[in-house]
């Protein structure tokens, strides 16, 4: 099939309106086979609306959208047969056991009883839930439920996996375990689209990402590229007591750029140590000073003037 392009998802001028509110305001997206693609942005940026359109459960208002080379508007069921969806809120079937959640879900795809039984056993191992197979879903921890939801999304061997804020609300240990599973899937060649408002998650998982804000894409690239393009190598974070807090203008000559946040200053510079030394020479004594590497958080702040997680 020579005309099949490498783009699993291709959007041009994609828009979504709910009444008078426009959640997605004309975005272009290309997701290539095998990559992990991220939508990064704060709540209300239009990430989930975009995901729902790609998942063929929300008709687009305007623009073109191709998923697996098909149109979600007319080929929804055919596309959904080949993708896996991990929604933002777990919607496991509380009336079924852990194993039944996988088996019955597989049956919705029209898979045979024998096929789903073998698949469920394999996925229970993958999700580290084999010991809980016969248990009801409700007593499972948040991390276990999330892993089960991800296992469920894999029951049809999807070519494309959509994960909407996969680790929101999980403790650090559960997040790392989940990231590890997602990394294994990537290694197995499963294309993934992830939305997140966690910078570390985007940096850990995504090969390429777009930063969304107010329904539009404000930047696009790999995490490293974005940091290089929109930030400096290092950041000096300063906290002052209210009495000793200087004007931002005093700090600006010392570094490339200064961001003033309610509780601290962020000083962008190639060399944080040197900036800290100059600070001392200028007679400024912060309550605390911390030099760190730039992250996507800084990219976001630069692009939108706001922090991601308030």
């Amino acid at each position: 099939m020579p005309n099949v392009s490498d783009a699993l998802v291709q959007a041009r001028g994609l828009r979504k309106r709910f009444g008078s509110f426009e959640a997605v305001r004309g975005i272009d997206v290309d997701v290539a086979r095998g990559e992990v693609f991220g939508f990064l942005g704060p709540n209300g940026a239009g990430k989930s609306s975009t995901m729902r359109m790609i998942a063929c459960v929300s008709p687009r208002t305007e623009g073109s959208l191709q998923v697996l080379g098909m149109d979600p508007g007319s080929d929804g069921p055919r596309i959904r047969a080949r993708i896996g969806v991990v929604p933002q809120l777990d919607n496991l079937d509380a009336e079924l056991s852990v194993r039944e959640n996988l088996e019955i879900y597989g049956r919705y795809f029209g898979l045979s009883r024998r096929h789903v039984r073998a698949k469920a056993a394999e996925l229970l191992e993958f999700a580290q839930l084999a010991e809980r197979a016969g248990d009801p879903v409700e007593p499972l921890s948040g991390g276990m439920k999330r892993r089960l939801t991800i296992a469920r999304s894999l029951v049809n061997d999807p070519e494309l996996l959509l994960l909407d804020e996969p680790t929101t609300g999980l403790d650090p240990q559960a997040r790392h375990l989940l990231w590890d599973r997602l990394y294994r899937l990537k290694r197995d060649g499963v294309t993934q689209i992830i939305t997140t408002h966690y910078m570390d998650e985007a940096e850990q998982l995504c090969d390429r990402l777009v930063v969304m804000d107010g329904g539009v894409i404000v930047a696009e690239g790999s995490p490293t590229e974005l940091i290089e393009r929109y930030s400096t190598r290092e950041v000096l974070e300063l906290r002052f007591t209210p009495e000793a807090r200087p004007e931002a203008g005093v700090l600006e000559p010392l570094v490339d750029r200064v961001e003033e946040l309610p509780d601290r200053f962020l000083l962008y510079t190639a060399d944080g140590e040197r900036a800290q030394a100059e600070l001392a020479r200028a007679g400024l004594t912060p309550l605390s000073a911390l030099v760190r590497r730039s992250s996507l958080e800084d990219v976001f702040l630069r692009l939108t003037g706001r922090t991601l997680v308030d």
Partner: protein, 280 residues
């Protein structure tokens, strides 16, 4: 590149003509998978089944045997005298078909729709709103059928089935349950909160009490007879009473037609509304 279709994954079926009026792409032909899901889930909630069976039986004993000893006999639909228990039993059969179907298609569906988000999960698969509507209505129907079978057995044991036509009361109960489930699900799709369910009770309870379940239509003045004659449960009771007492006539087809219209209307509205609610 090889075909990316997963092995064992059948192609979506042809849409039967009658379903063409429903939302496009909304039917994968797998509503039986919802039945499978409900059957699997019900293994843990079998108590609900038991209580659903006993409710009309308790009414039959309390009213039919207890109150019936004071009432004595009264004329049945064919004009012959029958016991009070034989009079109300078909009414209770109709009412239990209604109650079971309404409960399943309102409370249970609303919970899955708004709280469990089960349908959202299903719509992420090739299943469409029509599969969901048919599957849930179908399950309400199966439950209704089991209750009707149980209650008809009790009626037989009490000697309240006096005609071979009574065998048709079972399929008739299924039609009635189907109609109430379809309308119930359509109504549920408009519900905003649990408060709205008071309206369901407000519709169901008076119908149960006044739609000739416990006494004949002739006790009402003419104008009230016309009002009661429009109620769905009235048609269900008429149908059941004629069948269990053997007073069968062609007019029963009119009652049947009433329910067929309810079914068509209910499914169409339910599937369209699910489409609007879930696929926004």
């Amino acid at each position: 590149m090889t075909s990316p279709t997963t092995p064992g994954m059948p192609a979506p079926p042809q849409v039967p003509p009658i379903l063409r009026m429903l939302p496009a792409g909304g039917y994968a032909g797998r509503s039986r998978m919802l039945l499978l899901r409900s059957a699997t889930a019900s293994r843990r909630t079998w108590m609900a089944f038991v209580s659903g069976f006993f409710e009309p039986v308790f009414y039959l004993i309390a009213m039919g045997q207890g109150l019936g000893s004071l009432v004595g006999e009264l004329p049945g639909p064919g004009g012959e005298m029958i016991s009070y228990a034989a009079f109300i039993a078909p009414g209770l059969l109709a009412a239990s078909a209604m109650n079971g179907a309404v409960f399943d298609s309102t409370y249970n569906v609303f919970f899955k729709l708004k709280y469990a988000r089960l349908y959202d999960a299903m719509l992420a698969t090739p299943l469409g709103p029509v599969d969901i509507a048919l599957g849930e209505i179908g399950w309400a129907l199966i439950r209704g059928g089991l209750y009707a079978t149980g209650f008809l057995s009790v009626m037989a044991a009490f000697g309240l089935l006096t005609s071979p036509w009574a065998l048709l009361a079972l399929p008739a109960a299924l039609v009635v349950a189907f109609a109430f489930a379809a309308i119930g699900m359509a109504a549920t799709s408009f519900m905003r909160s649990w408060q709205d369910f008071d309206l369901v009770t407000l519709a169901i309870l008076p119908m149960f009490l006044f739609a000739t379940t416990f006494y004949p239509l002739s006790v009402y003045p003419r104008w009230l007879q016309l009002v009661v004659g429009c109620l769905p449960l009235f048609h269900a009771v008429e149908l059941m009473r004629a069948l269990t007492t053997g007073a069968v006539h062609l007019g029963l087809l009119g009652h049947l037609a009433y329910f067929l219209v309810m079914i068509a209307l209910g499914i169409t509205v339910a599937a369209r509304r699910l489409d609007v609610l879930l696929l926004k």
